[in-house]
Amino acid sequence: MEHVILVRYGEIALKGLNRNYFIELLAKNIRTTLRSVPSAKVKKIQGRLIVNVSDEDLNRAMERVQKVFGIVSISPAIVIDSDITTIEENAIEQVRSAEDIKTFKITAKRGDKTFPIKSPDLCCRLGEVVLDNVAGITVDIHKPDLNLWVEVREQTYMYHEFIACNGGLPVGCSGKGALLLSGGIDSPVAGYLMAKRGVEVIGVYFHSFPFTSDRTKEKVIDLAKIMSQYCGKIKLFVVPFTEIQTKIVEMCPDRQTTIIMRRYMMRIAEMIANNEGAKAMITGESLGQVASQTMEGLAATNAVAGMPVFRPLIGFDKTEIVKIAETIGTFETSILPYEDCCTIFVPKHPETKPKVSEMLRSEEKIAEMMVQMMATAVAESEVVTL
């Protein structure tokens, strides 16, 4: 008897002629997440993926597989020969070893039409032998304590647990996006949501030492690491931003520094995105959350971007964002109090209704030197792969 994890993919099954591509990609992503579980082997069967795994690695493997996007649900299952006596014996054993159950049900599916017993007949037959051999138990086909699934294919899979997963599409099938990762609560969630729709995420973090400490950088690396459980491998660019930030604060009007800074972040992120073959940028912005995220503020930052900017959190309340951050496990890291010193640059009265024309006028003085400074920042970025 072998232990496997049955992997069900939802949306992918609808993808017509490209279906195989999606399934291969999903299998590859599962293999990647199971690198550290050497006993695990991924294979395709009709309509499903199967992960073979040793008994002792089962829980560890399930924990990892659950986080891969493109999976609707998984079930830990046993695999046995498609032979009626073996099936009966195992059905009895499965029900007998289940704890705290009073009622059960058998759901049998005959996928292999060469198997002599039809699905409804198999249900009845297995129900009977279980009733005969397990004491103190009755059938309840509506609300059973235990629903034992028996899928007869080339081999037979038996399971009773359905673990819901995150759905979405396999990471990588929707191209690459550059995520502006700040170390706060929102941006990791934004990255997570785009990865859920199949985007391969690269991270861009702007490091302003000494205004933000090296601890903040460590924190961002930690966040990317947590995200990588869902998003797969993440290439993180640590962009040295001190000189640009200082220059902006020095040369531009107080009220506008935040927006102008964000515009330069966007420009640099786009340069990196282009270098990396990414087709979009991703931010954690949420409408109205802070002064720079008013509609006018977003428009002013958006104006510098040539590629689409995805803002998956745009309509989310902070509480909703926090909830997701807690679920994916980035919240605790995000709230570590390191970056607060950056607030020396937050103007007392930030512009909430910036106009692009005004920004451009303010940027005139620095635009020329910024060309070189931005190129240097990109060239001197440190790349961390997680």
Binding site: P210, F211, S213, D214, C341, I344
Partner: protein
């Protein structure tokens, strides 16, 4: 780039002789002091010598010294040990507003548990209000805990005077002093200070982390925090940290001249630092008591953020602190500066310089030059810009 380490109040570099002694203990004197065989006895003898050494430096008996894992455990052990032992209906405990978090947090905990807690205010230099203390002590007062040398300001409390006030009003009240920043830097005599308990730590004096000790006067009833095998006269169970204790002992021995020549040398260094800073930078404030511990210098600069200054010095190989490293995890960071009434414009721009005998006059010059540069360039970025 030469590293100039000016954060010795946070922790110190272990002296090579200490490390050597510890290594030797780890591989050669590895017995468990509780073992009955000779390896056990050898280990026990070694820690006994250190116990005596500590007792000699505090002017008490070696039976009154108990080893701990450091300052935080020591403070918890005394405060919780005294309170838990009494369990009366009416209890009052007193401390000051500028304690280390390992004292203040325990007091806050008890405040939420129906025990009357009084927190004494301090003057602008960080000395506790002795009149307030006198008025606060009553029959129900079971404990007064005061920081002997403040970790952020260096202010030294007048312990003999405080001891006298306490014992005059209520001789049964336990007087505890957190002496982590003072041990082997400032002389102390537990008899003349009328102390019942004192906490010290190893890693502030070039010893290892994870070891410390408490003095508990004979006859003082304390309930143990950690129960088990009955080590340390049943007050602190757990196999003794023998290599740590030996390291602490060696660190103490190495500091036998500290109270004379070193104290004076550090005092000169600190004065030089202050003079240089004052000459080079305007908008500064020196916090604490000029006659406090020379090992600590607390400086504020207006229009600068302490944390940013710290990082900018760090990039030049100069390591300072923005206050207590132990409270940098906390939300309420600047309660000490608040207690001495430091003006708001200076509070944000505060750093702590803490010296050791490894620091030279040249280091001071280099450090002050770096601070001046950093402060000036940081101030440019936050200058008031009315005309734009």
């Amino acid at each position: 780039m030469k590293e100039i380490y000016l954060d010795n109040a946070a922790t110190t570099r272990v002296a090579p002789q200490v490390a050597q002694k510890m290594l030797d203990t780890l591989v050669n004197n590895y017995g468990n002091p509780s073992s009955l065989h000779r390896l056990g006895i050898r280990a026990e003898q070694a820690i006994k010598e250190v116990r005596q050494l500590i007792a000699d430096n505090l002017c008490c008996q070696s039976q009154e010294i108990y080893f701990t894992s450091g300052g935080t455990e020591g403070n918890n052990m005394i405060i919780q040990g005294v309170v838990e032992n009494k369990k009366r209906n009416r209890m009052r405990i007193i401390t000051s507003a500028i304690e280390h978090p390992s004292v203040l947090d325990v007091f806050t905990f008890y405040q939420n548990h129906q025990i009357e807690v009084i927190v004494l205010g301090v003057d602008t230099q960080g000395h506790i209000d002795q009149d307030q203390l006198k008025a606060a002590i009553n029959e129900d007062t079971i404990l007064v805990s005061i920081i002997g040398v403040n970790n952020e300001l260096g202010t030294i409390q007048d312990l003999p005077a405080i001891g006298k006030i306490i014992k005059t009003v209520n001789p049964k009240c336990v007087f505890h002093v957190d002496f982590v920043q003072g041990f082997m830097k400032i002389p102390i005599n537990v008899q003349t200070c009328l102390l019942d308990a004192l906490t010290l730590s190893g890693h502030k004096i070039f010893g290892p982390k994870g070891v410390g000790a408490v003095y508990i006067k004979k006859g003082t009833d304390i309930k143990p925090l950690i129960r088990g095998g009955g080590q340390e006269s049943n007050l602190r169970s757990g196999t003794e940290n023998v290599p740590g204790i030996i390291g602490l002992g060696e660190a103490i021995r190495l500091r036998k001249d500290a109270f004379g020549d070193e104290f004076e040398a550090i005092r000169i260094l600190r004065t030089a630092f202050i003079n240089e800073v004052a000459a080079k930078i305007d908008g500064i404030k020196i916090n604490g008591d000029p006659n406090g511990s020379p090992y600590v210098l607390n400086l504020s600069f207006n229009r600068v953020r302490g944390e940013v200054l710290l990082h900018s010095l760090e990039s030049k190989g100069i390591f300072v602190s923005t206050g207590s490293a132990c409270s940098s995890h906390k939300k309420e960071k600047q309660y000490v500066l608040k207690a001495i009434g430091l003006a708001e414009e200076y509070k944000e721009g505060t750093i702590r310089i803490s010296f050791s005998q490894e620091i030279t006059k040249d280091d001071v010059e280099t450090a002050v030059e770096a601070i001046a540069q950093a402060v000036n360039s940081l101030r440019l970025l936050v200058k008031p810009r009315k005309n734009r």
